[in-house]
């Protein structure tokens, strides 16, 4: 029997087979991990929202429970292919050194992001899937595990007898240490991998992490093997995506292993820090939401059965969804302690109180706050010279993007500024201090380019301006003028990071001046600044 022929389709309960084989211990190996997440996939793709966040979660679970030391993890967030290959090369060198020392080694390569046409897309750069496979096949680590959470990622398994099956098991006749390659993908070769605002991540990675934190431990030995984790992630991913618009998503696997021991990916037998849901607690799915509003993990608790999840110390919101309401509460897991969840700590809450970030909003809707500087000047020379002088301003902008409709921006802005000016009346020069306050609202359409990094917008703005001047000659009274001014606004915005953007805007406004006589005036503004997306 060739290693590839050891694949066996198994029923939902076959994961228990691994229990009998004496799984390989996480602590017995020197483990390395390359964890890469990239929200951007270059031209013709829409930015993902949670790929980098998924990578962070996977990295965390591997270091906290997976026996991977912090120094042995390369976490690449939104990095290029060059960084990817450099990181992989660095880990391979260290694996070779470890093998020279006689250590058994394991390498986990996890990727979350876009994939298309046989390539992983890391921003504008590409990594060919075949190159990654070749690298893993020829790798020196005793065990290489590739996990690909991306659209059409099943292509990675196409030539190796990939299976869409609820579980796989290793035919085991003893406890011989396993050697070889395992490849997992989040979706078949013709399927999209889906993200969810509800769970704050991709379905597959979310369930993989939840499983590794303990919910996949069907054998109740407080260790999660590769087959347990896969079986759990497969079942939950298919179930949750079955009714989605994109259709059910089927994770796939293939492996080429020698030996007969299943692989323990996480081991929390000696780690009591986490959450315990006793058997008498109501059945259902319990979500544990971290301080950032993302689901750290979840438990699918059966009636009468207890469940345990390894979570790092900290504060969490607990949520259980019922048909007509939520049950929510807050818990604090102390360092080194297992927190037992008491149903009495939960309270009823409407769905609008859902603590999960993004659960209530439209896809991609975001709020941003911007700080910037502006220059304003009137087109008409005499107006500019003696009435309303060119002025510098500082402003604060608040924007809702994609909130009412995708591609639309609604914003409120406030600015204040001033300068010194001088007016000449029949040879008498009157210096003054000019001040201006503005409040505006903008409705604009936005077009995004280059994976959303660059965007251009064009819209309408209505501003209320209050201009005043205070003369140095105190015998001349202060003057002010206030009015509404409609205008056009166009802008460019460049994303510097996931949350931070630089922007530039130009505005052209009409102003009806009506103190001495009715005069139609126009002014322009140029603004630049930085925006932070919440």
């Amino acid at each position: 029997m060739t290693p590839s022929q050891t694949i066996a389709r198994a029923g939902p309960l076959l994961a228990a087979l691994a229990l009998a084989t004496g799984p390989a211990s996480a602590a017995a190996q020197h483990r390395f991990a390359l964890v890469a997440g990239n929200d951007r996939g270059g031209a013709d793709t829409r930015p993902l929202r949670y790929a980098a966040e998924d990578a962070r979660k996977v990295s965390a679970v591997l270091t906290q429970l997976g026996g991977v030391a912090q120094d042995d993890v390369a976490l690449l967030l939104n990095q290029s292919s060059g960084e990817f290959w450099r990181a992989l090369g660095g880990l391979e060198s260290r694996i070779a050194q470890a093998r020279q020392r006689g250590e058994r080694t394991l390498l986990v390569l996890y990727y979350s992001g876009h994939a298309k046409d046989g390539e992983l897309r890391l921003g504008e750069t590409r990594v060919r899937l075949d190159d990654v496979k070749s690298r893993l096949l020829g790798g020196q680590a005793d065990i290489r595990i590739g996990v690909f959470d991306s659209c059409h990622a099943g292509a990675v398994n196409r030539t190796k007898g990939a299976r869409r099956a609820p579980a796989f098991a290793i035919e085991a006749a003893g406890s011989e240490e396993a050697r070889g390659l395992v490849m997992l993908s989040s979706a078949s070769a013709d399927e999209d991998a889906q993200e969810s605002d509800e769970i704050g991540g991709s379905y597959f990675s979310h369930y993989l992490v939840s499983g590794l934190r303990g919910d996949a431990d069907r054998s109740r030995d407080r260790r999660v093997t590769l087959s347990e984790a896969y079986a759990y992630a497969y079942a939950r991913t298919v179930a949750d995506t079955a009714e989605s618009a994109a259709g059910a998503q089927h994770p796939t696997f293939s492996y080429d292993l020698k030996g007969n021991a299943d692989l323990v990916l996480t081991d929390f037998a000696s780690r009591s820090e986490g959450i315990y849901v006793p058997g008498d607690a109501p059945a259902g799915i319990y979500y544990f939401v971290d301080g950032n509003g993302f689901i750290a993990a979840e438990i699918q608790k059966p009636a009468g059965g207890d469940r345990q999840l390894a979570l790092p110390a900290g504060r969490y919101q607990v949520r259980r969804r019922l048909a007509d309401r939520l049950r929510i509460g807050e818990i604090r897991i102390a360092s080194g302690q297992l927190f037992t969840l008491d149903e009495a700590r939960l309270r009823d809450a409407p769905f609008s109180d859902d603590p999960v970030k993004g659960a209530q909003r439209e896809e991609s809707a975001r709020v941003s706050l911007a700080l910037g500087g502006a220059v304003q000047s009137f087109f008409d020379g005499p107006t500019r010279d003696g009435l309303f002088p060119p002025t510098g301003m500082l402003g604060l902008d608040f924007e809702l993007r994609d909130f009412f409709r995708r591609g639309w921006i609604w914003g409120l802005d406030f600015a204040s500024g001033g300068t010194r000016g001088e007016v000449d009346r029949y040879g008498t020069l009157l210096p003054f201090r000019f001040s201006e306050l503005t409040a505006g609202t903008t409705l604009a359409a936005e077009w995004r380019f280059g994976e959303g990094r660059l965007s251009a917008s064009l819209g309408l703005r209505l501003a209320f301006v209050v201009m005043s001047r205070k003369f140095d000659d105190t015998t001349v009274p202060d003057q002010f003028f206030a009015t509404f001014t409609p205008g056009l606004v166009g802008g460019l915005r460049y994303r510097l990071s996931r949350s931070l953007s630089a922007f530039g805007r130009g505005r052209v406004h009409y102003l009806l001046y009506n103190v001495d006589e009715n005069r139609s005036l126009g002014y322009w503004e140029l603004c630049a600044g930085v925006a932070y997306d919440f």
């Binding site: 003696g386 009435l387 007016v423 009346r425 029949y426 040879g427 008498t428 009157l430 001040s435 306050l437 209320f464 209050v466 201009m467 005043s468 001047r469 205070k470 015998t475 001349v476 009274p477 202060d478 003057q479 002010f480 003028f481 206030a482 009015t483 509404f484 009806l512 001046y513 009506n514 103190v515 001495d516």
Partner: protein, 309 residues
């Protein structure tokens, strides 16, 4: 009078109240405000303000005249300065109108200020203005001018020539209770001309009283040079050789330091017009004490050589 200074919160409140275009932000309004005389344009200035028991008699007379002169100036300017602190109630081309406002003192009366700009010459700023009163509820024809003024700029908006006429008797005839003000009780009219376009600045003031008043007229003529020196001609009372009081004219002049001289002259020979006779002379130093004093009917002290003029 309301404050003319606007705080930031006041501006925001005003702006929000507007809910549309509003305000007083106007270069044109500045022209109207600049055309109005300020106290400093007409006030008489003399370096010395001290008085001593041994100050020269004519120095004290000059100080008294300056004080009276400046009191009238302050009263006049205070009437006009009301406009400077307020935005016009209405703007109509070259005309601005403030009011009508109810009179605090006489509820049956209201007043307004009208200013009109001449468009005859774009280089010159010429304004005519009126302070008018009328009984409440009357039409436009009922407005009576209490004060009439005009101003023409020379060189800059704030330097030029102007006139102010206070028409007390005409206002009295219209029924306005002018005589309730002690300062106006016996006044027929008052005329002021001023010129601050070039040194020496000058102000003349002629006051004409009603026939029943003790005095019939008063005249002041003030000149101010750039170096602080100046002069003032004003009515004073002299005596004839027989000791009979007689209207006389005091002509005082002083340097920037305040040291000066005053001569009191009168026409003692009515049959020979323009034959003025000097009734007395005082010269004083910066301490205001006479350095030379001559009286036609009295002793002379000091030396005439000590006089600066």
């Amino acid at each position: 009078m309301t404050s003319s200074r606007l705080g930031p919160w006041t501006l925001v409140l005003l702006g929000a109240t507007c809910a549309g275009a509003c305000g007083n932000y106007s270069n044109e309004d500045l022209d109207f405000q600049l055309a109005l005389p300020q106290r400093s344009d007409m006030e008489a200035k003399m370096q010395l303000s001290v008085t001593r028991v041994d100050s020269a008699e004519y120095y004290l007379a000059t100080r008294k005249a300056i004080t009276s002169f400046n009191t009238v100036v302050v009263d006049l300017v205070s009437l006009i300065e009301f406009v400077r602190g307020q935005s016009p109630t209405s703007r109509n081309g070259a005309q601005r109108v403030w009011g009508p406002f109810p009179s605090d003192k006489y509820p049956d009366w209201e007043f307004r200020v009208v200013m009109e700009r001449s468009t005859a010459s774009p280089e010159l700023l010429h304004m005519d203005y009126w302070i008018q009163v009328r009984p409440v509820g009357q039409g436009d024809s009922a407005w009576v001018s209490f004060l009439v003024g005009n101003y023409t700029s020379h060189g800059s908006a704030r330097t030029g020539t102007g006139e102010i006429h206070l028409l007390a008797n005409e206002t009295r005839a219209a029924g306005y209770p002018v005589d309730d003000d002690p300062g106006l009780a016996n006044l027929d009219h008052l005329d002021v001309t001023y010129n601050n376009a070039a040194y020496p600045f000058s102000v003349t003031m002629d006051i004409v009283y009603l026939p029943a008043a003790a005095a019939q007229t008063a005249h002041y003529q003030y000149l101010q040079a750039q170096d602080g020196s100046g002069s003032m001609v004003f009515n004073w009372q002299g005596v004839t050789d027989t000791g009979t009081p007689i209207p006389a004219t005091m002509q005082a002049q002083w340097l920037g330091s305040g040291a000066g001289r005053a001569d009191l002259t009168a026409d003692l020979t009515p049959n020979l017009p323009n034959q003025s006779t000097t009734l007395g002379t005082d010269c004083w130093g910066v301490d205001t004490v006479a350095t030379y004093s001559y009286r036609r009917q009295g002793p002379t002290s000091g030396t005439a050589a000590s006089c600066l003029f």
